[in-house]
């Protein structure tokens, strides 16, 4: 048993860390540290910097621009991104749409979309949730009807998506739509469609969250014509595609690197505010211990994955549960550590951050859904 990285892995980490330190623009680092909202330009600038270096999509096959790194190296890279405090790499293109195309897409689809995702030419968003379909995703109603006319084969899409993160920046959206409302098993009537956001009939309406930020949207589809060639995999097999994506190597959902950076910041902050309250210190220590444990748990999954060559099972849901609980507690303690006299700072910075992080236990499969997954898949309940 050895909990430490090997000398080669440490050298790799140092190389990544040094490069990130040198190449992360100061203004972006500052914005992330201040919890400022990032513009589309901010996000793309960082994406393109990594693309130029060849590091924007490590997990892709080498022929499409992947780095050929093993799982441990990929994990180290992602944690270093979080630890240095870089803008997030928006996952919808890089780690959601692309793996789907690589697994299920036609050669034409891969050639058409993958290079543009890699280079940051297209900004993608995800069209899964609907007002009536949150955790119960398979109940979705957005309808796509296949029609043939002199322009060729099309789907005509009608309906509404919700919680569309960064939909207002997006050039493309990948959607789950209902192509067959008659099948008995409702999962079998769902298809996976790629839709150009500039298509007539699409309306994006902002949903402002309680931190005052505009991140998510409602997207309305009103007789939107989508070329049939934008169907991924087979009609009625969208659920298979969606499930594949759920099982896609989610090794970084714990966000250990970013939380370590936030923890260091919180400790420094608490000591600058001269907090002597033992109860606060205890909560801070328990949080640190939980994060230490999660990092080791994450490495245990990684070690297992490296040895077996198998993607992690449903157990990996626990990384999401614990990781998001930690992220939330970090912001909660930050607000509590602040001097009450600095209510302005709380109102403008720490408070909104705390409010915003409540989303983490709700999005990407709520933590209750994660528990359902473990109960069913791992425990056999």
């Amino acid at each position: 048993m050895d909990l430490n990285y090997s000398a080669e892995e440490l050298a790799f980490r140092d190389e990544v860390r040094a490069w990130l330190q040198q190449n992360l623009p100061a203004d972006l680092r500052e914005k992330v540290a201040n919890y400022d909202h990032l513009s589309k330009d901010d996000l793309l600038r960082w994406h393109r910097t990594l693309a130029k270096k060849g590091w924007v999509a490590p997990a892709w096959p080498k022929e499409w621009g992947g780095t050929g790194w093993n799982v441990v190296q990929r994990y180290i890279f992602e944690e270093e991104l979080g630890f240095v405090g870089s803008p997030p790499l928006i996952p919808f293109g890089l780690t959601m749409c692309a793996p789907v195309l690589l697994q299920f897409g036609t050669e034409e689809q891969k050639k058409r979309f993958l290079p543009r995702i890699y280079n940051g030419d297209d900004f993608w968003c995800q069209g899964y949730s609907e007002p009536g379909s949150g955790s119960d995703l398979a109940s979705l109603k957005t309808k796509a009807v296949r029609v043939s006319d002199k322009g060729g084969d099309h789907y005509v899409v009608n309906g509404q998506k919700i919680w569309t993160t960064l939909g207002h920046f997006a050039d493309w959206i990948f959607c789950l739509v209902r192509t067959d409302p008659t099948v008995e098993k409702r999962q079998e009537g769902i298809s996976f469609l790629l839709i150009d956001m500039k298509t007539p009939g699409i309306t994006v309406r902002p949903l402002i969250l309680m931190d005052g930020g505009h991140e998510v949207n409602e997207v309305f589809f009103d007789d939107v014509k989508v070329p049939a060639e934008n169907l991924v995999f087979k009609e009625g097999k969208g659920w298979t595609v969606a499930k594949y994506l759920l099982g896609y190597e989610r090794m970084n959902t714990g966000r250990i690197g970013a939380s370590k950076r936030e923890l260091a910041k919180l400790k420094e902050f608490a000591s600058s505010r001269n907090i002597s309250d033992m109860r606060f210190k205890d909560r801070l220590s328990r949080l640190e211990v939980e994060l230490m444990a999660l990092e080791i748990t994450n490495l245990r999954f990684l070690d297992q994955m490296r040895r077996t060559g198998q993607p992690p099972g449903a157990d990996v849901s626990m990384l999401k549960i614990k990781g998001t609980e930690i992220q939330q507690m970090l912001t909660e303690l930050m607000v509590q550590a602040e001097d009450p006299a600095e209510a302005r700072e709380i109102a403008e910075k720490l408070g909104p951050r705390y409010c915003s992080m409540r989303k983490t236990t709700i999005y990407a499969g709520s933590n209750e859904i994660q528990r359902n997954i473990i109960a069913k898949m791992t425990l056999g309940l």
């Binding site: 050895d2 801070l284 220590s285 640190e288 444990a293 070690d303 614990k322 359902n372 309940l381």
Partner: protein
């Protein structure tokens, strides 16, 4: 990075587990616990036969010179089976003795040891020692009272901490030369309060720093034992949820209980991760501070999660979880003792924050 046991560690852990499954099931253990002595010499001989008593002893005395990671799989198996024989007390004391012929008898399974350290009012402060050591010529005698010395009733020799003119020192005392008030602890292991009145003693090497290191070593082992007990508590509760029927269905179909079961498993995995940390740092920390910080972090998590899992396992068993008949109630008691053994979460939170 590698979380596997090496081949020797794995083989040993497997053979201990097989042995315990065969000869130390719940019924066999119940008989041992109910006996007057509260431990089984046959079991002890078997543990020695498998090399367990020699595992932590230096090769100079016929042992294997093993560390905490070498013992981890064994301790997990002991936690699962709720072994009451005084293995941990013997290991802990042997570690403090380091050089002495008694170690040869320990390896052979002929002697058991205990570490008499804690005193009234010490809580878990390691440096709180009032027992006094007096020297006359080459001979030492000890006076004082030690509390809750685990394994003392069946020990042949005790390692005793006492103060001499220079500070805390360690002594080896024959069990026949002390007065004992034995009792059965909450977890059914045997323990004793020990009174020393001019007890003849041999001076050992080492002082406070060695005691701290040994207690951290013992803490790491108890973390591993806790992980084994927690795993049993989780597994047996899961089994119960699948078989117990109410309202015409297994109670495991209720989401309220499913989520609690999931949280128990997550708590177990987090605890296991920290036991790995404690054992590897007990063996190979950069320095004492690194070791103490890691062991405290681990014990905070183990204490919190042992309490959580033990309480939930009883609750999810309903009334049956309260009964002597089910092993889970005994696991509950062992885990309850573990939460405070070598310092509970409060103690370790203070130490963790101070380092």
């Amino acid at each position: 990075m590698n979380f596997d046991y090496n081949e020797e560690q794995q083989l040993l852990a497997d053979s201990v587990r097989r042995y315990l499954q065969k000869d130390y099931d719940f019924e066999a253990r119940r008989k041992i616990v109910a006996s007057k002595e509260g431990w089984s010499p046959q079991v002890w001989a078997q543990l020695a036969e498998m090399g367990l008593t020699g595992l932590p002893v230096s090769t100079d005395f016929g042992g294997f010179g093993g560390g905490a990671v070498d013992l981890m799989g064994v301790m997990e198996a002991f936690g699962d089976a709720l072994v009451v024989e005084p293995y941990l007390p013997t290991v802990l004391a042997a570690r403090l003795i380091r050089k002495h012929d008694i170690l040869g008898s320990v390896v052979e399974g002929k002697a058991r040891l205990a570490f008499a350290h804690a005193e009234q009012g010490a809580r878990h402060r390691v440096g709180h020692v009032n027992a006094a050591a007096k020297q006359s010529g080459a001979a030492w005698t000890l006076d004082g009272e030690k509390k809750a010395v685990s394994g003392a009733p069946m020990a042949d020799k005790l390692v005793v901490s006492a103060k001499d003119a220079k500070g805390i020192a360690l002594f080896l005392v024959d069990a026949k030369d002390v007065q004992m008030r034995p009792f059965r602890a909450l977890d059914e292991t045997r323990s004793a309060d020990v009174v020393l009145k001019g007890a003849k003693a041999e001076r050992l090497e080492g002082g406070l720093a060695e005691v701290e290191a040994a207690i951290d070593f013992g803490t790491a082992l108890v973390c591993a034992e806790a992980v084994g007990a927690m795993k049993f508590a989780c597994d047996t509760t899961l089994e119960y949820l699948k078989t117990r029927k109410q309202f015409g269905v297994p109670i495991g179909t209720f989401q309220a209980l499913q989520h609690r079961m999931v949280d128990m498993y997550v708590a177990y995995e987090q605890a296991k991760s920290m036991a790995c940390l404690a054992c590897s740092k007990a063996d190979s920390a950069e320095d004492a501070k690194d070791r103490m910080r890691s062991v405290s972090a681990a014990k905070i998590k183990i204490s919190d999660n042992a309490r959580y899992i033990s309480q939930e396992s009883v609750q999810l068993h309903g009334g049956m979880g309260m009964t002597e008949e089910l092993k889970v109630s005994h696991t509950f008691r062992r885990l309850t003792v573990i939460t405070e053994q070598f310092g509970g979460a409060d103690y370790h939170l203070e130490r963790f924050a101070s380092l």
